[in-house]
């Protein structure tokens, strides 16, 4: 059934709010605000009671699916369990009711947390210094590339180095971030093992390259064994290496981007370090860099002097600011709590178990679905629907059928180099029983594809709405509610 919008529940005169009475002498409008500054037409916000409001959004929440509802194997998104204790900690008044411009001596705890979190992120990545300012992964990418640009400019090389190399398997944010950093994007092909094709790489690398962006393991879930050689090729040409940390969950405690030869990386704290995705954000795209890039980090930088923590704005070579204030602090609180609760051994176990889980599902599904790259995967893997396509069943049909069976779907149609791709990332927090149930569902769907394709083609059947018409939505966009004409 269709669910009314909050606006459709509005009734003039009803209210949920309560505000204090005005306790200062009231001044008439013209005395305080000139007529030209006043709003003519009031904003039609809904008028509802508090109980209506609560029921409306509670109902909406029940039409939503999160990690707490069930398995969420969305590749490249690391939908692991979000520990409750971290939510409690992040809700402490000491982390919420503080203003970013309070004097430093009144926010020593917040600054200490940021400093320590930054140090932890450097240790985990093998880097020298961190900045917590970027708000999300893509924001971290953009910031990291700006540092690379500033580095080349500082060497008088800025005008010459105009290209950023991005593998064809990369996340869409990589080329987009490079473009928004003013770079020309050069795509490099993948080889038959799913890694960067070294010959193609050598062809495109020259003295006009500013950087190579690499996700390793990549979006196929495969670790690029040639990473040392790749780094050498790029560095020899004077370029720098950017590490997209979206897939850090596969390697924490096992191998570090800094040791692989990367010069800068971003973390998705909301992936690797368990902070919830909030339906699409907020995240934290903290970056960490090698020493050569530290002069260019955004301001302010949190520093420790003796027992005192300070915000240093005096960094003459800094790129400036990429965001207001210091970043998504409340997300940092949760990510830091996670790192400190797990410790070194716990973090390594995260990577090991994430990889174990992914390989287990992959091996159990390979009889039923085509596996384009048959190697040990890391934390995720890609299968495709080429076998099911023979019966007219597409990846999207399989995804929708999974919804009917109570699971979230994998990431679909990505990476772009695999037709009908399904990218499956189970994460380490899922038990063997959960994985088995998902595997059974996938097998059931593979069998249905052969016998009752139409059931899949019309899925989902058990959700609050059926498959939605995305073509009409894009052709005739309705992007806001408008009151019915009277």
């Amino acid at each position: 059934m269709s669910m009314p919008l909050i606006f459709e529940k509005s009734k003039p005169g009803r209210k949920a709010y309560s505000l204090p009475e005005l306790d200062v002498p009231k001044k008439e409008c013209p005395d305080v605000l000139p007529d030209w500054a006043i709003r003519k037409q009031p904003a039609s916000l809904p008028e509802v009671s508090e109980v209506d409001l609560v029921r409306h959004y509670t109902k909406l929440s029940r039409r939503n699916y999160g990690v707490d509802q069930g398995f969420y194997p969305l590749g490249s998104c690391t939908m692991k369990y979000n520990p409750k204790v971290n939510e409690d900690i992040a809700a402490l008044s000491g982390f919420n009711n503080i203003h970013p411009y309070q004097p430093e001596e009144l926010v020593q705890g917040a600054l200490e947390l940021m400093y320590e979190f930054g140090r932890d992120l450097c240790e985990i990545s093998g880097m020298h210094e961190a900045s917590l300012q970027p708000a999300a992964g893509a924001h971290g990418e953009l910031t990291g590339l700006m540092l690379i640009r500033a580095y080349h400019e500082s060497r008088g090389d800025g005008k010459k180095r105009t290209k950023v190399i991005v593998p064809d398997s990369a996340h869409g944010t990589n080329p987009a971030s490079a473009a928004f950093c003013g770079y020309q994007v050069v795509e490099v092909k993948s080889d038959e093992r799913g890694g960067v094709d070294l010959d193609s790489l050598r062809e495109v690398v020259s003295c006009d390259v500013a950087a190579l962006m690499l996700t390793n393991p990549n979006t196929l879930g495969l670790f690029d064994e040639n990473v040392v050689e790749i780094a050498r090729i790029v560095h020899d040409a004077g370029g720098l290496l950017y590490y997209d940390g979206a897939n850090m969950n596969a390697i924490v405690g096992i191998v570090r981007p800094g040791d692989m030869g990367f010069d800068v990386l971003h973390y998705n704290v909301h992936k690797t370090f368990s902070t919830p995705h909030g339906g699409g954000g907020p995240g934290c795209g903290a970056i960490a860099v090698k020493e050569i890039l530290t002069p260019f980090l955004p301001v302010p930088v949190v520093e420790k002097h003796g027992d005192r923590y300070t915000l240093n704005y005096d960094r003459p070579q800094s790129i400036g600011k990429v965001k207001g204030f210091y970043g998504n602090f409340n997300v940092m609180v949760k990510g830091f709590a996670y790192i400190r609760s797990l410790g070194a051994e716990g973090l390594r176990k995260v990577a090991e178990t994430a990889v174990l889980n992914a390989n287990y599902i992959m091996r159990r599904l390979e009889k039923y679905y085509h596996l384009p790259y048959d190697r040990h995967c890391k934390h995720e893997f890609v299968i495709d629907a080429s076998r099911q396509l023979e019966y007219g069943v597409h990846t999207n049909d399989i995804a929708k059928a999974l919804l009917d069976l109570g699971f979230h779907a994998p990431t679909v149609y990505f990476p772009l180099i695999v037709r009908e791709a399904m990218m499956i990332e189970p994460t380490e927090t899922e038990s063997k029983e959960t994985l088995d149930a998902f595997i059974e569902a996938m097998i059931q769907i593979a069998q249905l594809a052969e016998t009752r394709a139409e059931k899949l083609q019309t899925a989902p059947h058990n959700t609050v709405v059926g498959r939605l018409d995305d073509v009409t939505a894009a052709r005739r966009p309705v992007l806001r509610w408008t009151p019915p004409e009277k």
């Binding site: 969305l74 919830p276 699409g280």
Partner: protein, 446 residues
Amino acid sequence: MNYVPHTSEDRSEMLKVIGVSSIDELFSDVPSEVKLHRELNLPAAMSEFELIKYMSGLAGKNTTTDNMVSFLGAGVYDHYVPSVVKHIISRSEFYTSYTPYQAEISQGMLQSIFEYQTLMCELTAMDISNASLYDGATAIAEAAMMASRLTRKQEVIISRAVHPDYRRTLRTYAHNLELNVIEVPFKHGATDIEALRDLVSDETACVILQSPNFFGCIENMALAAEVAHGEKALFVACVDPISLGILAPPGEYGADIAVGEGQGLGIPMGFGGPHLGFLTCRKEHLRQMPGRVAGETHDSQGRRGYLLTLQAREQHIRRDRATSNICSNQALCALAATVYLSWLGKQGIKEVAELCVQKAHYACEKLSLIPGFEQKHEAPFFKEFVVKTPLKPEELCADLLEANILGGLPLGRFYSDLSDSILVAVTEKRTKEEIDTLCRALEGLV
């Protein structure tokens, strides 16, 4: 502590299915020369209780506004956050979900985004809204880049009375795209429109003004928009959404793009983030709008539903030709704003704005009566104003801390020409008594 559910039996069964004898074998493709052959150097793991104790210790080292009366604003405000907001955004169906890519099981989030978009359109009186951006600073940068794409021009004019962090962020972004950022001076607290008129030309992509501006002053946005449009430049309005309960919205004065910081809409100050960037615009600019957007549609049975639409603008489809690189946004903060605005409703938003205006004007008048203090700017203001002080502002604010008062923001670090002044913010939470206490404390200091 650990959230891995595997027993050793599970592990060996799984390894057997995979056909390897150890987990290490699964990492055999990582070259040994780069592997970390030691444990990470991190402090020892903590149990849940130890963690709470440690983290509460850190939280306890911060002095909160629970224990101080705050007159600090400057882009982050101590507005009241109603209980319902916290309860709704704590529903784990919302906060543990990802971006709603699978629409049929994400109707809750998608409908709330659609409601958010409607609310932001209503509030700003604009046609369309995206699903959120990171914050006010990056929203300005996105708006400037959007205007540059729309006009195919490289010059951005921004008032010097726009928040310093926003301008600095804009300059960082602009540098890479070779956008030329020009600042217009202010006079008596508001943008110098004559100076603006001299600067705007047919090279200008957009003019950006903030109202109320960094000093709390209300700008003559209609006039600025007219000046911009006179040279076919777009006009970008950066606004405080709370102010729109009473002040003219961007749509009423001809703005092409409206942006701003939505922290005041039910989001804690939280040391500066996560907050909420918003962007609304005219519908003819839809295809160049950055960020996600939810749209209404139907299923095969005619049931109304919502999904992420117009994704051909976005990075995962368009890659290096996308309208922005943004992927994750501030969805949960947008949900907070949605609940907050629905809690306030049509009357409440007016009342909050009215309370801010009245209390801020009372405070300004009382402060100006103290010998040596005077209101710096003559332009009309909303909930924030600049006061010239007879003592060094930094020392004054430090002294006020003794009385548990966060007295405002000394402006010298942002504007050397205002090093004798503080910026004072008064929200609906401040009482007459608190304002009087501030004044008495100041009287005691001079």
